[in-house]
């Protein structure tokens, strides 16, 4: 039982990272129906940026006291801004022109952008895994046989805070309203005086900034990164977005935590689980897309003709 509860805790913290990435997929898909394949690499770019900021600050190990908050806040903000800008740039250069092209055209450019970003990061930091400084002190507490570490609490807390903020942003601001309107019907939104281009740009900005936050968190959580990280994490986060119901913000959170749990439990209980956990997650993706493409929370929409 303890082992099971332990895997629940591990799964939730993994899921927090997937959920943060999944939000970017779901927002972009919700608004322009594009699987932003490069999103996973934007997330890895966040880890790389955080690493660069920490190196710039001369941080190579645990930070204590008030400095900790300053360092963490500065790194996260820098990573979010960089990734946000990167996302906007990608949209501008690679997707905007293809907004009215057949659906597969922007998907193909998205794969291209993903490869370019991976190559850039490989040239930047080399092809091998890179250690990430353990900024946050990591004491762990034992709760009835279940170990909960500070890092895990930070991951889940940060993910929840970001999601609440996003929810407030989308439902309580004017630009959030514009995003919802554009997602519903782009042409009608334009006729109502909404600047669709700006709205889509903000969507990319926010989604990619969340990936930047996830990038920092995952660096701290795993203590290592490499240029190819985003492929697998991105695919899992996309699975999370689909599982929750693509286009649905709350669904992305739910999906993220579910995928984290599925992965942790598969790793524990399937013989040689660590080897098979990816197969399990991708099988979930395939099964959901086949049997319930609208996901857990999504409403089923007929294909737009």
């Amino acid at each position: 039982m303890d082992v099971f509860l332990q895997q629940i805790v591990n799964g939730l913290s993994l899921g927090g990272i997937y959920a943060l990435i999944a939000l970017g997929y779901t927002m972009v898909y919700g608004i322009i129906e594009l699987i932003n394949f490069a999103h996973g690499d934007v997330y890895t770019f966040g880890t790389f940026t955080s690493l660069a900021v920490l190196t710039g600050l001369g941080v190579s190990g645990e930070v204590h006291g008030p400095w900790l908050i300053g360092v963490v806040a500065l790194t996260i903000v820098a990573s979010m801004l960089t990734c946000g800008a990167l996302g906007v740039l990608i949209e501008l250069l690679a997707y905007r022109r293809l907004r009215k092209a057949p659906r597969l055209a922007p998907l193909i450019t998205a794969i291209g952008v993903s490869f370019i970003l991976e190559n850039v990061m490989q040239l930047w930091r080399g092809p091998s895994p890179i250690p990430f400084p353990q900024v946050i002190p990591n004491p762990s507490a034992s709760l009835g046989g279940v170990e909960i570490s500070a890092k895990q609490v930070v991951v889940v807390a940060l993910a929840v805070v970001m999601m609440v903020a996003l929810q407030l942003f989308i439902y309580n601001t004017k630009i959030g309203k514009a995003m919802r309107a554009t997602a519903q019907d782009r042409d009608a939104a334009q006729l109502m005086g909404i600047n669709v281009n700006t709205t889509i740009m903000v969507t990319f900005l926010v989604g990619s900034a969340l990936a930047g936050a996830a990038g920092f968190v995952s660096g701290v959580y795993y203590g290592t990164t490499w240029f190819f990280n985003g492929f697998e994490a991105g695919l899992k986060a996309f699975t999370a977005a689909v599982l929750g119901g693509i286009g649905n913000i709350f669904g992305a959170m739910l999906g993220g935590f579910s995928i984290g749990l599925i992965e942790a439990i598969a790793t524990q209980y399937i013989p040689q689980g660590a080897q098979w956990s990816n197969v399990v997650v991708f099988s979930v993706l395939v099964l959901v897309l086949i049997f319930r493409p609208s996901g857990l929370l999504g409403e089923s929409l007929p294909e737009k003709v």
Binding site: L104, G112, W276, L285, V286
Partner: protein, 352 residues
């Protein structure tokens, strides 16, 4: 070019290709041509799925893996089964085709982009499965010393790539004939109808299930052939030969040449193979020889694939050697940016 001059040129090209190992006696060049041949075969197969039927398959390397592993398991000391190479060509392409149907069937109801992601998922699951089932496949070490093909008692051997060169040349010739006939067949026209508008195609009485599954099966069978030839030539298989980047590489070849165009598939894969295994290493050597020891152009490979995908889709979605129909489809929806900017201005002006 008239039909007649075209034929003359094609015949001349055929003669040059047949004589190539005797014109250029450098084994490295023949080896390069042979590897390029394997990719041409892959691109011809992917062209059936992506180009003709419009089903974006992002896990095509899975079938390449299935072809290679079929040969590795059925023609080596692994299980002490030694089926001859020539028989394995048929067997492996049949196995790949069956898997094409099995992995294609779940995607039938899916929309284009979801289909792409599901095939990508399968493309990850298949090599991972070969990696994990180590009691059958030796896991990460792969299977080594596969049987060497022989032709009427003459073993292919390892000293020269020439025998494999002719095998691939023959397979490509076969592939081109098959692809051309398919394209112009009833099935080929059904594929194009589905690609343009699936709903309309279904209403015209096309059995989209059969048509799509045939595309998956036929496309996969090509990579089964390529897999056998490639595995026999290397005499080994390992799971890391079939990663996602192989699927994307073949897709880039197709996008470069022109989706739906047979000549495009061939030229695209030849050009990209040339860049990959010739231009980049050679220019690196050149740079080193003039003192630029820090550069290694082969590190820019993925940027080149990615750049091709982005650049072509933005500026020439129909590819270098377009198929006429595909060009019309891909261009039709692209709005002239100047015109739309003007519309936008007028719209904003009117609203004020």
């Amino acid at each position: 070019m008239s039909q007649r001059t075209k034929r003359v040129w094609l015949a001349a090209l055929g003669v040059v290709l047949l004589a190539f190992p005797y014109i250029d006696r450098n084994n490295a060049h023949v080896d390069f041509m042979t590897n390029a041949g394997a990719f041409i075969l892959l691109a011809l197969g992917l062209n059936i799925v992506v180009g003709f039927a419009g089903l974006l398959d992002l896990g095509y390397a899975a079938f390449f893996a299935i072809g290679s592993y079929s040969y590795a398991m059925l023609a080596s000391g692994q299980f002490n089964i030694h089926i001859p190479f020539w028989v394995m060509l048929f067997v492996a392409s049949a196995i790949a085709a069956i898997f094409g149907i099995l992995l294609g069937a779940p995607t039938l109801r899916l929309r284009g982009d979801y289909l792409a992601i599901v095939t990508l998922g399968f493309g990850e699951i298949v090599p991972q499965t070969f990696l994990n089932l180590s009691q059958y496949t030796n896991g990460p070490n792969g299977i080594i010393s596969l049987d060497q093909p022989s032709f009427f008692g003459h073993a292919f051997g390892f000293s020269s790539a020439t025998p494999y060169y002719y095998v691939l040349l023959a397979l490509i010739a076969l592939g081109v004939v098959v692809a051309r006939n398919l394209r112009d067949s009833r099935l080929g026209r059904q594929w194009m109808a589905i690609r343009e508008d699936e709903l309309a195609a279904r209403h015209m009485g096309i059995d989209t299930t059969v048509a799509k599954l045939s595309a998956f099966a036929l496309g996969a069978s090509f990579s089964g052939l390529a897999g056998v030839a490639y595995a026999a030539k290397l005499s080994l298989v390992s799971p890391d030969q079939f990663q996602f980047n192989v699927s994307v590489l073949v897709l880039s070849m197709l996008v470069l040449g022109g989706m739906g165009s047979i000549a495009g598939a061939i030229v695209g894969s030849f050009v990209l193979s040339f860049v990959n295994s010739f231009l980049l290493p050679q220019s690196t050597t050149l740079a080193h020889s003039i003192g630029l020891t820090g550069v290694d152009f082969t590190n820019y490979r993925y940027m080149i694939y990615g750049g091709i995908l982005v650049g072509m889709m933005l500026f020439r979605p129909e590819g270098l050697i377009p198929s006429r129909q595909r060009r019309a489809e891909l261009r039709e929806a692209l709005v002239d940016p100047v015109v739309s900017a003007q519309e936008q201005m007028e719209f904003e002006g009117g609203a004020r």
